[in-house]
Amino acid sequence: MTAVFLGIPTAPRGVGHLRGEESFPDAARGALRNGQLRANLGHATSTIRGKRAHVVGELTDWAQLREAGRAIKAATMARLDEHLIALEEQVTARGGTVHWARDANEANEIVTRLVRATGTTEVVKVKSMATQEIGLNEALEAAGIAAHETDLAELIVQLGDDKPSHILVPAIHKNRAEIREIFLRTMPGVDPGLSDDPRKLAMAARAHLRERFLRARVAISGANFAVAETGTLAVVESEGNGRMCLTLPQTLITVMGIEKVVPTWRDLEVYLQLLPRSSTGERMNPYTSLWAGVTPGDGPQEFHLVLLDNGRTAVLADEVGREALHCIRCSACLNVCPVYERTGGHAYGSVYPGPIGAVLSPQLTGVEDNASLPYASSLCGACYDVCPVAIDIPSILVHLRGEHVEAQTRTTPEAAAFRALSRAMSSPRLWRLAQRAAGLGRFLARGKPTMPNALPFPASTWTRSRDLPTPPAETFTQAWAREHGG
């Protein structure tokens, strides 16, 4: 059963950040030429990989936790309507107000209206994928409301008028010298003698934001989890900017994708073990805030929860693709992905990069709007192995490739090529064979940046209409097998 058939809309065009301006191969080509980006990414992903492996190895029951994490999400999705209604009931009973948003436009309108009602023209924000997805900052700006990002990396990205490139460390593509330059240029009253020592830079950010936190009247956050049976919301963070936003302002507005609900309080005992170890490679992140509605005398006295669809129900309608909604945004799959490590996050064109982005973005927008993303993978399977909730990303990728081909109504050469590629890519063995064949293409290209039209079928039908980057001497799969013995 498909969403189109059931009349369930995907995320609308013209708002938010789920679609890139270029296709993945075009965007990746630029990124592949950026040596600084590749060096930063390589360092970051390998460091986090190592830390993750160490702390995951400490838990003797990781496999059981992972299976519980998967099962809870599957059970949640199977009764998503019931859990959302329970959540709404609990949040309301504890003094919060729940709003429902069909899509990005509606969520932006709701938040703008709520901020306007307080009479303020500036808000502080905690890093949140959902609000990036819907383009909330732009919507607020259009309404004359300044939204200040407070997570250090988000601040760097915002001040640099840039885009995040990693879920967990969004400014990983910037080095300390570049960050210093951004701070000197954009922070009013910053010490002109500021050095590029990370500690000094972090302290400059602290000073810059402190005043804002203390005067803020409205904060906007996302949520990592929401417990249906108690109405408890959870935000997991490191710096304390989240706590500032969740604690000091009078009004708190939380924007949450509907898939973030979990049925019971006990479910957090699973996710609060899986998430930090998979994400930052810590046994526990420095701060986790949990709150249910409003507590007199402690924290915001007005709480609004915005439940966002924006294509999620369309994903839910696909029995295979649905698993992408289980994602807890740990970013472990990014850090092991050989494609991500070389292209970085920007090439994916969406706020959701890497393997999870390749399966989530095309489903949220409809595969026709992100048609190249399901191909942004070598299907090596490393993402599945590290995923703390065991999302079978390679299978969803293959499934979406098939969907994309189905969606081509006319039988163009492209469709035929995709169909053949999809078949080849759906079998690791055939795919390896095809890649070896492409190695021959490299020889034929003789150092030219793009491939000639001399690839063996089926790839030839594809390269006839566009350039394919010259394959490296070693394919990702081969390099992976060599480096990881997999």
Partner: protein, 209 residues
């Protein structure tokens, strides 16, 4: 149709008419680590994990809590005036440093004027080095453990449990909870860890046994 009805309607269409039974979740991961709260091995583990995350741990006997807190504050702040320290309203009198102010419900931002805070905790999780504060009078409201730059938490041996499931089972799910594992930190610049961004830069745990 309201947005609520529409989103719920979409979910029902997506899931279809006859829904399969949802299987029970197998919770065959470790629910306890077999040691009782306050077991000396758990206290050692907690100490190790806290220190790993750059917190300072001071051990003391039940009769010496006040002295240990005072000494810890002097080490962290140097010479200071008693009013630089603010304590949770439910903190036992014997734990309080002389002359410390009590959080009396003043506007939260006023707490930023203090250099240090002393609170108790609701429970501590050894395996992850996590302190859970629950907004009770002993722990104070959330802003209290956030704004002053130095946080001193008194943890009693019986409050120390093994793993995360045990810890979460002991707290009230609808209380305003803060899980604290070390001082605030960032690794956003070239992945270099910097302790102390917006939350307290210094975390001292007084472990009582």
């Amino acid at each position: 149709m309201t947005a609520r009805e529409e989103v719920l309607g979409r979910i029902r269409r997506a899931l279809g008419e006859d829904r399969a039974e949802v299987p029970e979740i197998a919770r065959d991961y470790r629910l306890t680590d077999g040691r009782d709260p306050g077991d000396p091995a758990l206290l050692d583990l907690l100490t190790d994990r806290l220190e790993d995350y750059k917190a300072t741990v001071v051990r003391c006997a039940p009769a010496d809590i006040g002295g240990a807190v005072t000494t810890a504050l002097r080490t962290a702040l140097g010479e200071h005036s008693p009013g630089d320290v603010v304590v949770a309203p439910g903190l036992p009198a014997e734990w309080r440093p002389d002359g410390a102010a009590e959080d009396d419900g003043r506007p939260a931002v006023a707490l930023a004027d203090h250099a240090a805070t002393v609170t108790g905790v609701s429970v501590a999780v050894a395996e992850t080095g996590t302190l859970i504060l629950d907004g009770s009078p002993l722990c104070g409201r959330r802003a209290l453990s956030l704004l002053p730059d130095c946080l001193v938490c008194v943890v009693e041996a019986a409050q120390v449990v093994g793993g995360v499931p045990e810890g979460l089972a002991k707290v009230d799910a609808v209380a305003p909870l803060t899980l604290i594992s070390g001082p605030s930190a960032t690794s956003d610049i070239e992945l270099e860890r910097v302790e102390g961004v917006h939350g307290p830069r210094t975390l001292i745990v007084v472990l009582v046994a």
